[in-house]
Amino acid sequence: MTSPRAVQARRPRNTGSQRAAADRTARSLRRRRASNGVMRVVVYIAALIATLPLVFILGHLLKEGASSINLDFFTELPKPVGESGGGMGNAIVGTLLLLGIASALGIPIGVGAGMYLAENKGTKLSNVVRFLADVLNGLPSIVMGIFAWQFLVRPMGQFSALSGGLALGAMMIPLVTRTTEEMIRIVPSSLREAALALGYARWRTSLTVVLRTALPGIVTGALVATARIAGETAPLIFTAFGNQFWSVALDQPIAALPHQIYNFAISPYEDWHRLAWAGSLVLITLILVISLIARFATRSKFGAAND
């Protein structure tokens, strides 16, 4: 910005056009500053609007759902149409059972695959697996439902809790794989080297030193994956199918919270709508609690260990 004066000194006759140029510069600077300010406000507003739906949805859930939540809601079956009250106890139990089956399938495979990816980075197979895990992660959950229906339900001859849990578990695999890999990768290599230098075999080093150090992070990843599949409805339409009654039998259809919410929401009955709101509130609370535990687990243990 010192150049105008220097130019003036060399060509004194040109002052008029120089001043015009300086004016233009000043004007454009004002314009640039103005657009800078405007865009800052625009970005702030966009960020604000993007978070507003969350506030609306959670607020509405509390308003509509809280009044229907009482002890009965957790212990009773849904009442037939026309009778008020009743609960979604069977669906809550069903969801917990489905999550258990899903975790039993998804977490071991995911952790194993994640360990492979972390310990063999850069090989062709690990690149392919990592890429396909991400692709698998992006597949619509309804496709997973169709797959489980064709692969499990049809051969077994009936809808079942087991097929529902396995469909959800398959969805967990890529999620757990990727977080496990990242968590193992940030374990300092000096730890691994120390164990190897002490004469530990590689597999013992991987399991008792590296995996153990990364464990809090892996637990977090597993919890986040569980929270994500807890609200899945689409795969359950083809597998768990829903059940009006209490059931914990693995080979029988089973009720699940999100699926039940869907059925109640599209029904024309006020009482069932109320149950749907209350069920949604319980489901969201379940998911939030799992997520918060996950965040807490990383922060308290792993964050400290990593510093």
Binding site: A46, T51, L125, G138, I146, Q150, I173, L288
Partner: protein, 341 residues
Amino acid sequence: MIGPGMADGAPGLAPSASPSSLPLTPGPTAAHAVSIAGRSLGDRIFRVVTTAFAISIPLLLVLIALEVVVAAWPALARFGFGFLTSSAWDPVRGEFGAAPMIFGTVVSSVLALVIATPFALGVAIFLSEYAPRWLRQPVAFLVDLLAAIPSVVYGLWGVFVLLPILREDVMPFFATTLRLGNTPFFSGPAYGPSMLAGGVILSIMIVPYISAVSREVLMAVPRSQREAALALGATKWETIRDAVVPYARSGIVGGVILGLGRALGETMAVTMLIGNRHEISASLLAPGYTLASVIANEFAEATTELHLAALMACGAVLLGVTLIVNVIARWLVWQVGRDAR
């Protein structure tokens, strides 16, 4: 990486330790040989097991594709490519075509992207460039929470809160106040359940996906890139526009395409809001159908084998499209990650 020579202590792996602190290697005794053999056996087992887990992921993907195509085969074999272009859907006469669903899937998803992208980018830029440090974590957490809300809860909220607002306020605003009612895009009666409703709920649902990826790639832009622009006299906004965003562009595009993949396959909320009618209409106020929602909606009532197969064929089309979209998106995001490293 695991050769037989690496099994015994691997002293070469610890360059930072001074030579004097290394224990003396004992001579090759019988016991030592046994322990080496035992270790390498353990290593082999460990390697085989983790490899098997890793290979299960590609296997699962292949199996999914295979089973979905098998389920859809009766319909695919009978209708061939005509399935994609026909808009007949008559379970009684056994005629099925997916054109209205393909149309609805594409339109609702594109609509969602158009609405969601500016806000998602706004959040990402806010978080990576403007927000003070203490605000970053909470706002990022809030946006991530949007991704944690189950699809069916979005649907419930959409049916009882969003639809009335759209029907009473937004649709009349477009049709009457803006006088767009005569254009084909906003013609017809405003019932509520419609392509517009499906697109709006989808846009809310995909914001967290687009913004999470965008935020990450924006944060991966090197500091020097920003400092260079600022040193040249650029304002903050010019720095973002000319130096930061272009650097992260392909990653942002990848995030948007990832959001597209989500929108294409979203099922429950869309099923509850889009109106579920087998028709192609230019009007955003008219009900539509998507590939995912037709499967969810008609699965329970499909009685004939062909009807079921036709639904599964919709699933196969959806699988094909989302596979392509995801591969493109992942490739783009991966490119940025590689450049940044």
